[in-house]
């Protein structure tokens, strides 16, 4: 009877919303009136209805285990909520890997230093205080490192101080101890090592010229570069694990 005013067929969107009872009142009534008069639209509606019924009949899926959160999962970082939607960061693994990598770098550095001391130091490296000469060398290189990575000095210092303890946030070494000091060439450092590196805490001494290292040059050059690279790597890795560890314990 009223079909005359509704002879345009209903589109899928209308039919779909009609099924869900999501059409506003007047539209719903108009659609109902059209459906009452139009077999083709009724057929469409039934087809959609069976699709909906099929989707609804899909079996429920149950998680194979409880997805309840453990305290460990929850503990890491609250620091960057911006990244909350990103995949879970695995701090334990990262920190562990960084620490391992720094340990390796430190060991390599130590090995290089021993070789160097054998080549150049001619017995002076035999100082009873084994840590002294690495420390002195470290300070020289970490001065450069200090320019590039601000965090380097303190970690580099920790390296020389206690080879195996990288505990982040340990604060066992006053930052900057070795930083601006002991730019002596390696030969000197090896000689005066223990004496000069230890009280290295002096701050902000004007950086003395460093050409002696170059004068020393040639054969030791590559070795020195390797040491420097290794020291930089160690410092960087330590800094990274420090930061990562911090984040984790937060």
């Amino acid at each position: 009877m009223t079909a005359g005013g509704n002879d345009r067929h209903l589109d899928t969107e209308t039919l779909s919303a009609y099924l869900d009872g999501a059409l506003p009142g007047p539209e719903h009534q108009a659609a109902a009136a059209h459906l009452a008069a139009c077999g083709r639209c009724r057929e469409e509606l039934e087809a959609l209805r069976s699709v909906v019924a099929a989707v609804r009949s899909l079996p429920a899926l149950r998680p194979p285990r409880s997805l309840a959160l453990t305290p460990e999962q929850v503990r890491p970082r609250r620091r960057w909520p911006l990244f909350a939607g990103l995949p879970t960061f695995q701090p334990a693994g990262t920190v562990g890997a960084l620490r391992l990598a720094s340990a390796v770098a430190v060991l390599l550095l130590a090995a290089l230093l021993v070789v160097d001391a054998g080549n150049v130091g001619t017995g002076r490296s035999g100082t009873p205080d084994g840590a002294a000469s690495p420390l002195a060398l470290e300070s020289r290189t970490s001065r450069e490192a200090g320019m590039a990575a601000p965090a380097a000095p303190e970690t580099a210092d920790a390296t020389a101080g206690a080879g195996e303890r990288f505990a982040p946030g340990d604060a066992q070494a006053p930052p900057g101890t070795t930083q601006q000091d002991a730019p002596q060439p390696v030969a000197d450092a090896a000689g005066g090592g223990a004496g000069q590196a230890a009280p290295a805490a002096v701050e902000e001494e004007p950086a003395p010229p460093q050409e002696p290292a170059a004068a020393h040059g040639d054969a030791g050059g590559t070795l020195r570069r390797a040491q420097m690279a290794m020291a930089l790597a160690a410092a960087g890795l330590l800094a990274a694990s420090f930061v990562a560890g911090r984040r984790r314990t937060r």
């Binding site: 919303a17 069976s50 699709v51 019924a53 009949s57 079996p59 149950r62 194979p64 997805l67």
Partner: protein, 189 residues
């Protein structure tokens, strides 16, 4: 809920227990794989816990499913393409729900239902993700349109059209197997 918002993990885990089935089901179907779905669901709950301070009332389920949907989109983006066979793994899982028999169901009906579910899961997997998500939220999760709009952060009109387009595509796809839908209708009737 109040305690959860203050970071009480035990309280939050009660919410996890209540919603994990829905979140998991959505993620599995969005990603077409149980493993990926489980990972995404876990990520979603973690994000929800961390972001619960930003839940501002309204439908908690819709809020949670929105986070789950985002976790799924992240996973899809990371993967770009669904590895072949993962859907089959879902459907052929011998411990899966598809092998459960309804009491009073004949073997033929069971086979038909299984077949329909397989076709449908495959058809769903082929939908564009936004349409798949809208259809799942509407017809599997049973959310109302306004809740879906809230969950997806889109206006009602968009919700309506995504659902309609998704359903139309499914219908197209299933129309090659009319006997499956007939079986379903008989079952319901």
């Amino acid at each position: 809920m109040e305690r959860s918002r203050k970071g009480d993990l035990e309280a939050f885990n009660l919410l996890v227990e209540a919603y994990q089935g829905q979140v998991y089901a959505l993620c599995v179907r969005m990603l077409g794989s149980r493993e990926a779905g489980e990972d995404a669901a876990q990520d979603a709950f973690l994000s929800a816990f961390r972001g619960i301070g930003r839940y501002r009332g309204g439908s908690f389920r819709a809020w949670l499913l929105r986070i789950a949907a985002n976790a799924c989109y992240d996973a899809l983006r990371r993967r770009q393409r669904r590895p072949a066979g993962s859907l089959d793994a879902l459907l052929d899982d011998p411990d899966g729900p598809l092998t459960l028999t309804d009491p009073g169901e004949t073997p033929e009906e069971h086979a038909l239902r299984r077949e329909l579910a397989r076709e449908l899961e495959a058809a769903l997997a082929d939908l564009p993700p936004e349409e798949r998500l809208a259809v799942l939220l509407c017809d599997v999760q049973g959310l109302a349109y306004h809740e879906i709009g809230q969950a997806l952060g889109v206006p009602l009109g968009t919700v309506k059209s995504r659902i309609a387009r998704g359903r139309a595509r499914l219908r197209e796809r299933l129309s090659s197997r009319p006997e499956l839908l007939r079986g379903l209708r008989r079952q319901e009737g």
